[in-house]
């Protein structure tokens, strides 16, 4: 039986101002099993990024529940959620989000160092070699191209052997060639490490590479379909 790594139940997020309230996510429920890859798609303002943020424990819902690796995130403090992220989660962002003051290898080392682990340089080097950046390990983000920065970010995301990887428009800031390279890397490493992938994207071509597609509109989950072609390919 497959293990459920992510589960949401009646997830709602409402922003309140002095005289009004705005519901950006409305009663969303779904589960994700270990090793699956899912894409969250939908138009701008449909609630994709909000959903990703809640699933990853970057924010807390107004109501409903999120369970990540069995941990009820909405009942945890921010620091406890940070611990869960460090133990089980990897991230890839549209804007790469590398620490500008650290070199490529230092950026990759950070998540494991945070756990208090030592001698993590070897693993970081292996990952950078894996993403094709063996010659750029000691470069700072400002000395790397966009594609290279995103590859460093992917290496960092896999540094902790995450159970689940959240990616927000990972190819959104890249040209076509780099986008293909990054996509191949992301999905390839996902399969190699048997990681669960949750992907937010506008790019339908990218979405079609996942095994399941969730379509959002107006804050609601309007479609949840399996991508049989990808499923077949992955299995």
């Amino acid at each position: 039986m497959s293990t459920i790594v992510l589960q949401t139940e009646n997830l709602t997020k409402t922003y309140r101002t002095a005289d009004s309230s705005l519901t950006v996510l409305d009663d969303v429920s779904f589960t994700v099993e270990q090793g699956n890859s899912i894409a969250i798609i939908g138009p701008s303002g449909s609630g994709k990024t909000t959903l990703l943020g809640l699933c990853a424990g970057l924010d807390t819902p107004s109501s409903g529940l999120v369970s990540l690796m069995g941990f009820k995130l909405n009942k945890m403090s921010e620091d406890d959620r940070a611990y869960i992220r460090n133990q089980y989660v990897g991230f890839v962002f549209q804007n790469f989000q590398l620490l500008s003051t650290l070199t490529a290898i230092e950026n990759v080392m950070v998540p494991l160092e945070l756990r208090g682990e030592r001698n993590v340089q070897g693993k970081a080097k292996d990952l950078l070699v894996r993403v094709g950046l063996s010659a750029r390990m000691n470069h700072y983000p400002s000395q790397l191209s966009g594609g290279e920065q995103q590859r460093v970010a992917i290496a960092r995301a896999f540094m902790t052997d995450p159970k689940i990887l959240f990616a927000d428009e990972p190819t959104g800031n890249l040209d076509e060639e780099n986008a293909h390279h990054v996509t191949d890397l992301l999905f390839g490493m996902n399969i190699e490490q048997h990681t669960t992938l949750v992907l937010v994207t506008h790019n339908l071509e990218l979405a079609e590479k996942t095994s399941r597609i969730l379509r959002m509109k107006g804050g609601r989950l309007i479609e949840d379909r399996s991508n049989s072609l990808t499923l077949a390919k992955n299995h």
């Binding site: 990703l52 009820k72 940070a82 460090n86 003051t101 950070v110 945070l114 700072y140």
Partner: protein
């Protein structure tokens, strides 16, 4: 389903055990130090100012303590303005202590080698003076030569070099001619500011009478120097003989009283230094808070990423806290040593203003103060901005506009309380008075409140009277003042505070320097002749007329003392320790004049009536100068009894005059009416104006030849000396105020950089939709011009209030300011705000919009 929660197990690490935060602190900082330049610069200037000024205070105090005996030259100095008679001499002889004598008076000297003359302080010495310290002369044996030969003289070295006099030249003093045996570079009791006004000339005591200078009315000061075995012996001697000395009409001074006197003299200087240190440090604190705020803001995204990958809020906080803390220590060390360097420099600037050579010892207490204070400031004033780092939401990585959650944590509340207390406690420490601390603190709070009120009022007015018809640039720059999330109020308060402090310093400087407003205006006398005997009066006036000089005044002077105040004998008042009348006011010799008019160019009647002789028994009604009536605790209608050369004369106060002392001298404390003192022994003073130096030289030469005892004061010479001295003092004040100005500018830069982030996006948008660089530059400049102008005006207006309060209650001097300089400060601050604003926006202005959009996205 979701019916279980797994308890998170994680080991909490503190800052000392979490090696990762130290590694991250180093990694993040190694290429990043320039970003903390404002922080370090603020701290260094603030701490340097405190250390320099505290070290200077300590050194001055230390030097006064160590130099006091040498300043006096003896353990006890008995002094009086009458020659020591049999009674006092027998008292002093009975002490069986070693004695030396001195008599000094103002006199003219004629240099026979060049026929030039000058007013000097003639000092006649006798005995083994000094008992402490040395008389340093050139040649070294000049003092021995002087003691051996009664026709010899020594000159202050500045005087000798000014008139190109060397050994064996001759000078004429009074009726006698003396041979110069050397110059004096240092003498106990000499030096300091007074030497510059009236340089001293030294002769043997036995030669004094032969000069013929000591005549009726001559103002001679007599001193006897006594040496005791130790402080206890000084005390027992004064316990035994002090009362008798006073009873004989003499006073005495000890090392302790000289120290107190000097300390009192430097009190205003200490106060000013304390104020400067306070201002510089507060500005430094604002600079620290402002720069850390900018830093924390720049680090927001970095923190969000760290939070995403599992860092706790405290870990993120600790990374930057470690950086700030260590840099704070480095800044404190640098600031302390910069302060010490400046402290070593200040004695060079002050050397002509104080009567002793200032030491350059290193006061380590000041260094310790700098280190402790720097560490406290860097921690205290960075905690609030850094605390925001703890609350950066990890969601910021997805949405950059995501607001941080900012709960009112205990850390924040504690920091706010400590920050509020800090200026109060520091000011109290600096001024050594909790009330002064509260006064400084309230002044600062009032200034901040005032600035905040004006900022809010300005925003209200701009909204209400927005010039919709104005040009695009004008409208856009004005709208910038009240755009959402703009920091107009904060910027106005910060920039306004800088302007306020700079302007307050300017007002205080003007007020301090304004204390010496000297004559020299058209038609005012610039040459005073005094010690003219009654029989010489007509001859001197004739001599003036022969030299085509206008005789502005011929004023009679009668010397007298007080013997009763409001029916109480002076001796009773002196013995009464409960009254508030100072002893000097009761025992001094008063030089009074008589006339029936006001001396209109320098006097104004502010209470009662002018002096007059009334009919009846109580006929003598005099006027007194403002301030003196407070010292003597009398007012209009009160009675006094004067001892006029042995004859008692009852008088009543008829009015109080406000006297502008430096104007058109001579001026007097007491003025009698005509018809009372005409027959009393008296001398005369006359005044004239000489503008031509050659004419002045010739007149002085004739005067000293025909009337050797008459002295002449050349006010132009004194005016020149005062101007030179105050230029020097002004330089010192400006030099010290520079600390505050530099720190103020750093705060200003911080405030403008702080607002940069909000303006970048707007400029990018304008560029994207087609605004030209010139337009964006104009909008930026005009917006910062509004900001700078309104802040500076607010600061300046508030500074007039604070300057008035400080001059009246703190420095106790007359308020004064220079409108032109105040306006220059407004223009300067506005210009600097514009320049700094433009400088920090130039990258955004000149970069292609796409590049900026990418960077900002």
């Amino acid at each position: 389903m979701l019916d279980y929660v797994i308890k998170v197990k994680r080991a909490a690490k503190n800052i000392f055990t979490d090696g990762w935060v130290w590694r991250m602190a180093w990694r993040d900082a190694r290429h990043n130090f320039s970003r903390l330049f404002l922080f370090t610069a603020s701290l260094i200037t603030g701490i340097a100012a405190v250390v320099a000024l505290d070290a200077l205070n300590t050194t001055l105090q230390h030097d006064i303590d160590t130099n006091a005996k040498e300043l006096l030259g003896a353990d006890i100095v008995v002094n009086g303005d009458k020659k020591f008679g049999k009674e006092i001499l027998s008292i002093l002889d009975s002490t069986k202590l070693p004695q030396a004598s001195e008599a000094d008076m103002a006199s003219m000297i004629l240099f026979l080698n060049n026929n030039q003359s000058r007013l000097i302080r003639l000092v006649a010495l006798e005995g083994a003076f000094p008992f402490y310290g040395e008389i340093e002369t050139k040649p070294a044996n000049a003092y021995q030569l002087l003691q051996a030969d009664s026709n010899t003289v020594m000159l202050d070295e500045t005087l000798a070099s000014q008139f190109a006099v060397s050994s064996d030249d001759s000078v004429k003093i009074g009726k006698s001619t003396f041979r110069v045996v050397g110059t004096v570079s240092k003498i106990p009791g000499g030096g300091g500011i007074m030497t510059t006004f009236t340089p001293s000339v030294y002769i043997p005591m036995k030669a004094l009478d032969s000069t013929g200078l000591v005549q009726f009315g001559s103002r001679v000061s007599y001193k006897k120097f006594l040496k005791t075995a130790d402080d206890a012996a000084t005390k027992s001697t004064l316990d035994k003989f002090g009362a008798a000395i006073r009873k004989s009409g003499y006073g005495y001074e000890t090392v302790e009283s000289r120290k107190e006197g000097l300390g009192e003299g430097f009190k205003s200087v200490y106060k000013f230094f304390s104020l400067l240190a306070f201002i510089a440090l507060i500005l430094g604190c604002i600079g620290v808070a402002s720069s850390v705020h900018i830093y924390a803001r720049e680090k927001r995204e970095e923190v969000a990423v760290l939070r995403c990958v599992g860092s706790t809020g405290w870990q993120a906080f600790n990374i930057f806290f470690i950086q700030i803390f260590l840099l704070g220590i480095i800044g404190s060390v640098i600031g302390s040593f910069v302060g010490l360097g400046i402290q070593q420099l200040i004695p060079v600037l002050l050397k002509d203003l104080i009567p002793f050579k200032m030491g350059t010892v290193i006061p380590w207490t000041a260094v310790a103060l700098g280190l402790v204070l720097g560490t406290i400031v860097s921690v205290l004033f960075s905690i609030l901005p850094l605390a925001s780092v703890r609350n950066v939401a990890p969601l910021t990585v997805l949405r950059s506009e995501q607001q941080s959650r900012a709960p009112h944590s205990k850390t924040k509340i504690t920091a706010i309380v400590l920050i509020a207390l800090f200026p109060l406690l520091f000011a109290a420490y600096q001024t050594k008075s909790i009330w002064m601390g509260i006064f400084f603190f309230l002044g600062l709070a009032a200034a901040l409140g005032g600035l905040m009120l004006v900022a809010s009022g300005l925003l209200y007015l701009v909204r209400k009277f927005f010039p919709h018809g104005a040009s695009f640039v004008m409208r856009h720059s004005l709208s910038g003042l009240f755009r959402p999330n703009n920091q107009t109020r904060v910027l106005m308060v910060t920039i306004g505070l800088g302007a306020f402090i700079i302007s307050t310093l300017n007002v205080i400087e003007k007020s301090l320097l304004g204390q010496v407003e000297f004559a020299g205006q058209e038609n005012q006398s610039n040459t005073i002749l005094f010690d003219i005997q009654r029989e010489q009066k007509d001859g001197v006036v004739r001599l003036m007329k022969d030299n085509k000089l206008k005789v502005n005044q011929v004023v009679p002077i009668v010397t007298c003392r007080l013997s009763e105040v409001n029916g109480k004998p002076v001796s009773v008042l002196q013995a009464d320790t409960t009254d508030s009348i100072p002893n000097w006011a009761l025992s001094r010799e008063y030089r009074v004049t008589y006339r029936d008019t006001l001396h209109k160019s320098a006097e104004k009647l502010i209470k009662g009536e002018i002096q007059q002789k009334k009919s009846g028994p109580d006929s003598v009604w005099v006027t007194i100068s403002e301030g003196m009536e407070e010292n003597l605790d009398i007012t209009v209608g009160d009675s006094l009894v004067f001892d006029v050369q042995g004859i008692p004369m009852k008088a009543f106060i008829n009015g109080i005059r406000k006297v502008e002392w430096p104007k058109d001298p001579p001026n007097f404390i007491f003025v009698f009416p005509n018809g009372v003192l005409e027959d009393a022994p008296q001398i005369f003073v006359t005044a004239t104006r000489i503008d031509d130096q050659e004419q002045a030289n010739e007149f002085q030469r004739q005067l000293i030849t025909q009337f050797p005892n008459v002295s002449l004061v050349d006010l132009r010479l004194i005016l020149g000396t005062i101007n030179a001295l105050f230029n020097k003092l002004g330089l010192v004040i400006r030099f010290l105020a520079l600390f505050s100005v530099v720190t103020g500018l750093i705060v200003l830069a911080g405030a403008v950089i702080n607002s940069k982030f909000l303006r970048i996006k707007e400029n990018v948008l304008l560029r994207t939709i087609g605004a030209r660089t010139r337009q964006i530059t104009a909008i930026t400049l005009v917006e910062y011009a509004w900001l700078g102008l309104f802040s500076a005006i607010t600061g300046m207006v508030l500074s007039l209030g604070s300057g008035w309060l400080l001059t009246k209650f703190f420095f106790e001097i007359t308020f004064g300011y220079d409108m032109l300089e105040s306006l220059l400060i407004v223009v300067g601050v506005t210009f600097m705000t514009m320049t700094i604003g433009w400088w920090n926006s130039r990258e955004v202005i000149s970069t292609p919009p796409l590049q900026v959009l990418r960077k900002e996205s």
